[in-house]
């Protein structure tokens, strides 16, 4: 049924968590990738979503920003069920979210300044000079002053990520999402990105969600962590609790214990999509 269009009033932020997931399930082509994820993220908290390749953590992040539609379950963002609201309401919420993609996802045909200005020009009625000042401010915040007129192709990997963060910050978001912020960067540049995340958290008290598999970075920035494995949330807790966890999957992940190689395509698909408890039982005989 078509939802009635009403102007979205500037609502007061509800108390309670900024993000809540309730039994979130996501499927591709009939295969379930996420098997009922539940967690809350409080305002001002930095949550790190850990998980190996193919664990479903990126799918989880894409679902949180509305790029994937869950097959069932609820995604509550700022007190509204992101899955059921109208497109207009979803867009209103999205204006308060910022997302920094793994490769930056900067528009290649626009300069860095135009990239950062885009959301402001699209969603606000600010005059061009004001937008230019805002762009300079945002680029200042990420340490890219003076790079307004550069094209993304002229920037290094780390600078691209910073520019992407500046664009994500353009609308002064309440929630900031990072997809693999340090992937593909050398340790020094990666540490710089971590530092930037910490500064943003300190300065703006933003709610930050980071998807990563870089342990050093995760332990540095996280208030709380969750570990996703084969589409299940297997553990969650503060950095300290995770470090001391006895959960076998957490230990395997933190102690970097290799997994036996996957022999068959079907095994691989099964490994990706089966709930880990079941998969664990099923494969115990084979792998251990």
């Amino acid at each position: 049924m078509r939802k009635h269009r009403e102007p979205v009033e500037e609502e007061k932020l509800p108390d309670g968590p900024m993000i809540s997931l309730r039994d979130l399930r996501v499927s591709y082509d009939g295969r379930e990738i996420l098997h009922g994820i539940n967690f809350d993220v409080q305002r001002g908290e930095t949550l790190v979503i850990l998980g190996g390749s193919g664990s479903g953590k990126s799918t989880l992040l894409r679902t949180l920003v509305g790029l994937e539609i869950p097959s069932s379950g609820e995604v509550w963002i700022r007190g509204k069920n992101f899955v059921e609201i109208s497109n207009m309401e979803r867009d209103e919420i999205r204006k308060k979210l910022g997302m920094s993609f793994q490769g930056g996802a900067l528009f290649g045909s626009m300069t860095v300044g135009e990239n950062v200005a885009l959301p402001l020009l699209e969603h606000t009625k600010l005059e061009q000079p004001t937008v230019e000042i805002m762009v300079r401010l945002k680029l200042d915040q990420v340490g890219l002053s003076g790079f307004e007129d550069f094209l993304p192709s002229q920037l290094s990997g780390g600078m691209k990520k910073r520019a992407a963060v500046a664009r994500a910050l353009a609308m002064d978001p309440e929630i900031l999402f990072f997809d693999e912020p340090s992937a593909g960067l050398d340790p020094i540049i990666a540490a710089g990105i971590d530092q930037l995340i910490l500064e943003l958290k300190k300065a703006f008290h933003m709610t930050i969600i980071v998807v990563t598999h870089e342990l050093a970075s995760a332990f540095l920035i996280a208030d709380r962590m969750v570990l996703i494995n084969k589409g299940d949330l297997v553990a969650s807790g503060t950095a300290e609790e995770m470090r001391n966890s006895k959960h076998p999957r957490v230990r395997q992940f933190l102690d970097r214990v290799p997994e036996p190689a996957v022999a068959q395509e079907l095994d691989y698909l099964q490994m990706l999509t089966e709930p880990s408890s079941k998969a664990g039982e099923g494969r115990q005989g084979k792998s251990r």
Binding site: L67, D91, E92, M99, Q102, L106, F107, G108, R167
Partner: protein, 265 residues
């Protein structure tokens, strides 16, 4: 039985594909014609840029090709006509076949090669580098931001290019007319214009408008449905060209049939 199954599934897939093209074209049309009245931005500047790229920059190659096509048409028509001593009808033959059929078709094929493929490659690359996703997370509708300006440019420029192509074709024919059929340049042009009815030009332009919509829808749809990786971008671009040419021919057939049975012939 298996053959029937395969045919059935190919048919339903084809229909589903046409359905998604129609949906995309419909949404682009919405953002072009209705959206601006509902407070959504009309991206004129971006559309102008696209019009420059798909229209103005296509002029040199379009002029050259349609000029030669006109010349070839004149040669082929004269081959038959001179046997009946009717070589002075060559101007009519060239003018009618250019405006009704070859002008719109050749223009569409050139635009597919230049712009249809470019749309697919541009949007495909943006899909692969997550730029389309980035737009969505910024609450900017990709169809409004990327497809609608292309749609606007094509709907405007393809008929314009077709008119220019028709003119260049007639000019090409006149080269033969003047050198080989005892026309003066002015008499050739007058003779061409006299042989044309407004409906000949209009049917060609209606077709070119539909071709424009088809090329945009296929190019953008292929781009937006690109999977991961650079190889997929190449595949989408190829598909965009092949499918566009095929659908343009089908659209041409449908509209030619329509005009025929409407008694316009």
């Amino acid at each position: 039985m298996e053959f029937l199954q395969a045919t059935g599934s190919a048919f339903t897939n084809g229909m589903a594909y046409l359905g998604s093209l129609a949906t995309l074209a419909g949404r682009a049309a919405y953002f072009t014609f209705i959206g601006p009245f509902q407070g959504k931005p009309l991206r004129l500047q971006s559309a102008l840029g696209q019009a420059m790229e798909t229209g103005v920059r296509a002029l040199p190659i379009l002029s050259l090709i349609t000029f030669f096509i006109g010349l070839i048409l004149a040669l082929q028509a004269a081959y038959e006509l001179k046997q009946f001593g009717a070589i002075n009808y060559v101007a009519t033959a060239v003018a009618v076949s250019m405006t009704r059929e070859l002008g719109p078709l050749i223009t569409a094929v050139i635009v597919i090669g230049r712009s249809g493929s470019a749309f697919a490659a541009e949007l495909g690359t943006m899909k692969v580098t997550e730029e389309i996703d980035a737009l969505e997370t910024m609450a900017i509708h990709p169809v409004s931001f990327l497809v609608a300006p292309k749609f606007m440019a094509m709907v405007l420029m393809l008929p314009c290019l077709t008119i220019w192509g028709n003119f260049m074709g007639i000019l090409g024919g006149s080269l033969f007319g003047v050198l080989q059929a005892d026309f003066t340049f002015l008499r050739y042009i007058t003779s061409s214009l006299d042989s044309l009815f407004l409906r000949d030009v209009m049917t060609g332009l209606v077709k070119s408008l539909m071709f424009g919509i088809t090329i945009t829808a296929v190019g953008c749809h292929e781009g937006l449905s690109t999977g991961g990786g650079a190889e997929q971008v190449g595949r989408s671009t190829t598909r965009a060209v092949v499918v566009s040419i095929f659908l343009v021919i089908i659209v041409d057939l449908v509209f030619t049939l329509l005009f025929y049975f409407l008694g316009e012939q």
